[in-house]
């Protein structure tokens, strides 16, 4: 078997908490001993709420943040301490908010050309890339403020694809978009993944998207992967209370969906927070 496109081994990252005078007051463990493997052409979902360490993992995979320990391998080669330029030709990222990730003073064409120029690809590819993300070619001369959120995200995807990466990190690529647009962008990503043989690391807190888009999922809670496995299995039969809680928080429309929803005891008529629920379960186990 060939090496997986992305392999993360025992990745750990802590951030120091500084006092007002710059002294160390403690540390937050953002990512705690995380390991995962994504096979070539697969879609791996990292689920978790804000602060669970999702984006820190994305930044480390991109080489924007250095891990404290552990290793990240792309196609079997470690990226820690490797010259970043070559790495960026293989891994690219689509950011959460396309309104912020495109320079407002530069046209769409100019933004895409940055990627082409940086990796020695012909500038004439701008048109092809716009075709790929199903935007008209003349959008190359538009400024971001003339585009809708969905169109901007398509531009961001085109820009990431310009360097012809093997792995695309999608950091909540649809959370800043209207619900009606989200589905279209996900469809586009699925088509592109199939046509170009891309591997995705899909980061999101949106579990319904996760269920439809990813083949395998890892649930992050406070920097640790608490549950991992094929998406269908994890969603049908969650083993960890935190996964159950996340699933119970998803709004449902139909009865079938409601039947899939795990049972979570309510505290004062509301869904408990993860901390409350875990404390409750521990108390239950003790009393048994």
């Amino acid at each position: 078997m060939s090496a997986p496109t992305l392999e993360i081994r025992n990745l750990t990252k802590t951030f120091p908490i500084r006092t007002a005078f710059g002294g160390k007051a403690g540390a937050v463990t953002a990512v705690d001993d995380v390991s995962l493997r994504v096979a070539a052409g697969a879609v791996y979902g990292l689920a978790g709420e804000s602060g669970s360490g999702k984006s820190t993992i994305a930044r480390m995979v991109m080489g924007l943040t250095r891990p404290d320990s552990g290793d990240i391998l792309i196609d079997g080669q470690s990226i820690i301490g490797v010259k970043s330029h070559a790495h960026r030709g293989r891994v690219q990222m689509v950011f959460q908010n396309p309104g912020a990730s495109l320079n407002p003073r530069r046209t769409v064409g100019q933004s895409i050309r940055v990627a082409l120029d940086a990796h020695g690809k012909p500038a004439a590819r701008v048109g092809d890339l716009l075709d790929m993300v199903q935007l008209p070619r003349h959008f190359a001369d538009r400024y971001p403020h003339e585009l809708s959120g969905g169109q901007k995200q398509r531009v961001a995807i085109a820009r990431a694809l310009a360097v012809e990466p093997r792995l695309l990190v999608l950091d909540e690529p649809t959370s800043a978009l209207d619900v009606s647009v989200q589905a279209k962008v996900i469809e586009l990503l699925e088509d592109l993944g199939r046509d170009l043989g891309l591997t995705y690391l899909f980061i999101s807190h949106d579990l319904s998207l996760m269920r439809n888009f990813t083949a395998e999922v890892g649930v992050l809670y406070r920097g640790r992967i608490v549950e991992t496995g094929p998406t269908a299995r994890v969603f049908a039969d969650p083993q960890h209370d935190y996964t159950r809680l996340l699933l119970a928080s998803v709004p449902v429309i139909s009865d079938e969906e409601a039947a899939l929803r795990p049972d979570i005891p309510l505290i004062n008529g509301e869904l408990p927070t993860a901390e409350e629920l875990l404390a409750l379960r521990q108390a239950e186990r003790k009393s048994e």
């Binding site: 960026r88 320079n103 003073r105 940055v114 120029d117 940086a118 190359a140 400024y143 403020h145």
Partner: protein, 293 residues
Amino acid sequence: MSDLDLSEQAALSNAWQNWYRFSRNPTAVIGAIIVVVAVLLAVFAPYIVPYPADAGAVVDFQHRHLPPSWEHWFGTDNTGRDNFSRAIYGLRVSLALAGVVLVIAVPVGTVLGILAGYFGGWTEIVIMRLTDIALAIPPLVVALAVAAVLEPTLLNSMLALASLWWTWHARLVYSVTRQVRAQEYIEAAETLGASKLHILFREILPNVISPVAVKTSLDAGFVILIGAALSYLGLGVRPPTPDLGTMVANGANFLPDFWWESMLPATVILVLALGFNLLGDGLRDLFDVEDVR
């Protein structure tokens, strides 16, 4: 239709939109008109003024201290020269001073500010502390000192002002760069593998240009005032070269009887400085809207 046509169209419509918003702002338009008229008058002074010869050392004692009239709009001075002609010529000195000082100071300040804001660390400490030190020195005092030590010429005043003026732009650009640098699109450009040079001058610079343009226009007014102050103190332009500050200084000897000799050139300085300030404010309004869009 080819791609080129489309890009030209887009650029045109953008420029047209900007012009439309600008033209709806009366103070900005007044400022722009004052500045454009002043520049035209200065450039074409020899062909416009009624008494071109009076720009030099002319003495005509029969027409000394004449009050404003149809022949002499601003009256005449101590040696019988036409004050209007000399005031128009004086615009040349004021505008040249503002132009040279800002052409030197603005690029220097902008580049230093971007470098300090983007790289941080030691680059920032060195550049910004140097800026702080320079900011503590009043430009007028340095100009006075330079004029006292070296020759009191226009060129020396320009260099003295320019040597300190960059600090204001460095400060401004530094703080704007800090904001821009935190934006996701800079991180996106880094992720794509863009070079440092590209990020500094292609990604950050376009976002810094609008505040710099506003400040430059406002500064032009200040530089003109300082230049006039230097001339007033006798440290600027040498007679007989016509200069607004010198005219105010000479005319002040004959206050209050021959008030026009100082008050009217002073009014020209005032209007010119006001014009640049109105233009600067108008540009700021224009760019603010653009940022909100």
